[in-house]
């Protein structure tokens, strides 16, 4: 069953066709690797998917509902999507605990008005923060964390949101080895609990290890898709990625 269907998507910034008629399907309960050199348009596709950018042309179906996002930002929550950003967008002048607690908040103004600090889900937050080993820093300001810790905090926030679709934009960047291990374990857990994961990453080892399926993008177009082991050994893919002369030697 396809969880997300993208049909010849197009997006233009000024004169550059950052994404031109890009189509793809992402199947339910799989980990999809989304790879391609920098500036190939990966992040833009994800931004279009999560409503950060408006769609110039083309359609996106999320669990068979056509995404109509004339407004700039669709409400990801209502489409059961959560994501992280290449450069983590967390609430700097709020504590680590509050950064995660917010996603478990009541959404309606009136009900949030009567939900005081001691909500039931603080145990859920503790569980998530312990998993990513940030529980010790829970009262620290998010802005004071290191780059790696900020990445991990955003990752923890996606875990806490418990949405059907999770999109991670370079989750492994800036992490130490053992932290990478924890994150990859958690991603596998996500898949085990029925989630669909989209992973944008340059770290090929992680892609090969985690991804069931890979989409390769270059210059705004989808140039290859399939099993990671098969795809990533093809010369034409390596050419774009590591550059012709390097991998010839």
């Amino acid at each position: 069953m396809t969880m997300i269907k993208i049909h010849n998507l197009r997006k233009r910034f000024g004169r550059a066709d950052v994404v031109n008629n890009f189509s793809a399907e992402i199947f339910k309960n799989t980990i999809v690797g989304f790879v391609g050199p920098n500036g190939s348009g990966k992040s833009t596709v994800i931004n279009l998917l999560t409503g950060v950018e408006t769609i110039d042309h083309g359609d996106i179906y999320i669990s068979d509902i056509l995404v109509k996002n004339k407004k700039k930002l669709i409400n990801n929550y209502s489409f059961n999507i959560s994501r992280t950003y290449q450069d983590p967008r967390i609430f700097d002048q709020m504590s680590v605990l509050e950064n995660v607690l917010i996603v478990l908040n009541k959404r309606k103004v009136l009900s949030s008005f009567f939900e005081t600090k001691k909500p039931f889900n603080s145990s859920k937050v503790e569980e998530v923060l312990r998993k990513v080993d940030l529980w010790g820093k829970r009262s620290a300001l998010a802005g004071d964390l290191s780059y790696g810790q900020r990445k991990i905090l955003e990752f923890a926030r996606v875990l806490a949101m418990d949405t059907r679709i999770c999109i991670f934009d370079e989750p492994f960047a800036g992490l130490f080895a053992e932290m990478k291990l924890i994150v990859s374990e958690l991603i596998l857990d996500l898949k085990a609990s029925g989630k669909t994961v989209v992973l944008i990453e340059h770290d090929m080892d992680q892609i090969v290890k985690l991804a069931d399926y890979v989409l390769v993008m270059n210059a705004g177009k989808l140039i290859a898709k399939g099993k990671p082991s098969k795809i990533l050994s093809r010369n034409d893919i390596l050419d774009i990625y590591i550059g012709k002369d390097l991998h010839e030697k």
Binding site: T50, G51, V52, L73, N75, N76, Y77, S78, R83, R89, F91, D92, Q93, M94, E98, L101, I102, V103, N105, K106, R107, V109, S112, F113, F114, E115, T116, K117, P119, M161
Partner: protein, 288 residues
């Protein structure tokens, strides 16, 4: 002793204004210079009701709030569509416009002549004409508003406000209707300002448009920022500083008017120095 009571009443009136603006600016990141207009609306409603009709003080305060709610909802919606810099200019504009209405609609507000003879309230057979009783009334209202604000800040509603301050788009993507949240807090803080307006009118027994001009909005802004953003006790310190300090100048021996000119010079200097070294204010937890 009367003088200290008078100062305490003045402090609680401006503390209420400071706290309400802190909820708006310190917690939600909305820099609004319209606050003196809501302060004025509350004052004028109470003044007109107490002078021309027999309504009780509490009812006039309530009616002031009831009048301010729809107006602040409308103004909130207008000013909400703008980004940070335009928002501030639009809020300033709204203050100038409302000041113009206070001053020019003389058949309603008596214009520059102001409204005099506003009686002191008599509630539950306590006569509030003596300042010490009035101080109790003012402190009770300040306490209520302080606790209410303290409660708001502790709820999830308060937490959502802080996320709006930090990064509204991300907060939106989590499914929070941020426009609605901003509107609700704008109306709440406007109503608080109206309450302090009613207190002001009944205490001073005379009001005129000059006390609700843009300069008053800037005074409230300075109180909030110097006191400390996103810190309610900080606002109390800020009010203490801005209201007590000029009164202290009356005690300094030099009676010449230069001392009073120095007041504005000193305030300007303090604002600049604070922005240099402690932009979050004395006890603030949020840097602008």
């Amino acid at each position: 002793m009367e003088y200290l009571i008078h100062l305490a009443i003045l402090l609680s009136i401006y503390a209420i204004l400071g706290i309400s603006l802190n909820l708006l600016l310190g917690y939600t990141g909305l820099i609004s210079l319209t606050h003196a207009s809501f302060f004025g609306m509350g004052a004028y409603v109470t003044a007109l009701l107490l002078v021309h009709t027999k309504t009780s003080f509490l009812l006039s305060v309530l009616l002031g709030v009831i009048l301010v709610m729809p107006i602040s909802t409308f103004l909130g919606m207008i000013s909400d569509q703008f980004n940070k810099n335009d928002y501030m200019l639009v809020s300033l504009g709204l203050n100038v416009i409302i000041f113009g209405l206070f001053n020019n609609l003389s058949n309603l507000t008596n214009g520059a002549l102001g409204i005099s003879g506003i009686p002191r309230p008599v509630l539950f057979n306590i006569d509030f004409s003596s300042n010490s009783n009035y101080l109790l009334l003012a402190l009770v209202l300040l306490l209520l508003i302080y606790l209410f604000s303290h409660y708001i800040v502790r709820t999830s509603f308060g937490r959502v406000l802080k996320t709006i301050r930090e990064d509204e788009n991300v907060s939106k993507s989590f499914g929070f209707n941020t426009r609605y949240y901003k509107l609700v807090i704008f109306v709440i803080t406007a109503s608080m300002a109206a309450v302090s307006g009613s207190l002001y009118a009944s205490y001073f027994s005379y009001i005129d448009p000059s006390s609700f001009s843009v300069t008053t909005s800037m005074l409230i802004l300075s109180i909030t920022i110097i006191g400390g953003l996103a810190s309610l006790p900080g606002t109390l310190i800020g009010t203490l500083f801005f209201i007590l300090f000029p009164e202290l100048l009356r005690f300094v021996g030099i009676p010449s008017e230069e001392v009073f000119q120095l007041r504005q010079l000193m305030f300007g200097l303090i604002i600049v120095l604070l922005m240099m070294h402690r932009p979050q204010g004395f006890m603030g937890k949020y840097k602008l």
